[in-house]
């Protein structure tokens, strides 16, 4: 118990670091994932190819390798950014591939008649996608997007090993200070549980509010 009360500020800093990483990376992942999903269903061939390559490559890349390449590789091109930004970039791009797949399978659950009706009203591709198909797809993708974002929150732990301030990284300081390692980890675990269960609860609320069974 002492471990938490004595080092509350350290834990709080790490906790907020993880939350921050999760929020920013989620935003990036959602935007990029949305973009890639619309690429993957676009009528133009080269967009489709680009989207497919993006998803296939990123989904099969170990996240550690991506972090390794981004964190240690980009600075060699003179691109010097804070580590947090690199971490958000790596996490966001990685997760965007999964978000894209979730959105695409969500689009596929919308009955064909909906898109056909939109088209027969003379709507363009972006109109029928944006005002007819996606709002319906959104309702079915709430739970899988929640799972993907939880996975993102958990994956953010890897950033700690690349000298970004976050929850898991606090163990190093604390073990140097000589605190009991087991209790240090217990409180880290509690922190992660709080984050993942919050996201899960949030998405359960969203699901109750907007979700429909199709």
């Amino acid at each position: 118990m002492d471990v938490l009360t004595d080092n509350f500020s350290l834990y709080a800093e790490g906790f907020l670091g993880t939350v921050e990483l999760t929020v920013y990376a989620s935003a990036l992942a959602l935007v990029l994932g949305f973009l890639m999903a619309s690429f993957r269903v676009a009528p133009v061939g080269s967009f489709r190819v680009f989207g497919t390559v993006w998803v296939t490559v990123l989904r099969n890349t170990p996240l550690t390798l991506l972090f390794f390449a981004v964190m240690l590789g980009l600075p060699r091109f003179g691109l010097v950014l804070p580590f947090e930004l690199f971490a958000v970039l790596a996490l966001g791009c990685y997760t965007s591939a999964f978000i894209c797949e979730v959105l695409r399978s969500g689009i596929n659950t919308v009955p064909r008649g909906q898109g056909e009706a939109a088209r027969s009203l003379g709507m363009s591709f972006s109109q029928s996608l944006g005002t007819v198909v996606l709002p319906q797809a959104f309702r079915t993708v709430i739970p899988p997007i929640g799972s993907t974002l939880i996975a993102l929150a958990k994956n953010s732990a890897i950033a700690g090993a690349f000298s970004v301030t976050e929850l898991l990284g606090t163990y190093k300081t604390l073990s140097e200070l000589g605190y009991n390692i087991v209790w240090t980890f217990v409180w880290i675990a509690v922190g992660y549980l709080i984050i993942t269960l919050t996201i899960s609860a949030l998405f359960n609320v969203l699901e109750k509010r907007w979700g429909v069974a199709r």
Binding site: S46, L72, R119
Partner: protein
Amino acid sequence: MTDSTALYDIPGPHARRRHLLYGVASTVVILALAGWILHLLFDNDQFTSTKWSPFLYEGIQELLLEGLGNTLKAFAYASVLSLALGALLATGRLSDHRVLRWISTLLVEFFRAMPVLVMIFFIFVALKVQALPALVAGLTLYNGSVLAEVFRTGVHAVARGQGEAAYALGMRKTQVMTYVLVPQAVRAMLPAIISQLVVALKDTSLGFLITYEEFLHAGKLIASNLDYDLPFIPVVLVISPIYIGMCMLLSWFATWVARRERRSPKTKAVDVAPAEPETLLPGPQ
């Protein structure tokens, strides 16, 4: 082409011309981007012979191969053990005894909600275990719990009549499970199981963070060699295709199995899962 989509009409001559224009323009942009990156790499002297010469030495090739071997070793241990743990936890969750069910539900939910890396670090730092057992144990706990959920979903996905018919023939629960439900569930869930193994393969790279001498570690050793002018980018360019290629092969295998199983008459009573990593919210479903 993609006639599954109803998002746009079959393009007429006008739209086809416009699409062709978009296609050409975007291809040019993508190629220009690729060219710019290549130019940056050349500009940065990443293709000098000093930086690429290390890959010619047998010692370094052996170092890389050894790292790859260690990665595959961790993957083999982790996948076998997590399949075993998954089967055990799924049995617990499907048990008729309430206590067993509660315990296994608690374990599954906890290990699914924890980041793998936290478990690996805990085992490595707090329990002071060697790097390989720590990595394998962490991966096993996580993937085993996820696989337990996959197995359980599979058993529940088998059409109800199958189990009822088996009970009606006078089979015991163990017999119903082993002869009727599990064989069909495993067939149906095979793509999802293989996809989870892809996750395990990807996560073996976490061993890098606890200084397990795996593939990335070997790469890091070469990349920090001053004799070759710190060949970091060449190392990444060599390592990532191998890593990504391995995962892709396994993913494609999962998709292939999914397609095959869907056609098989043996999976009539159950829906075959798509070849995607399991995505379920933690907490009671």
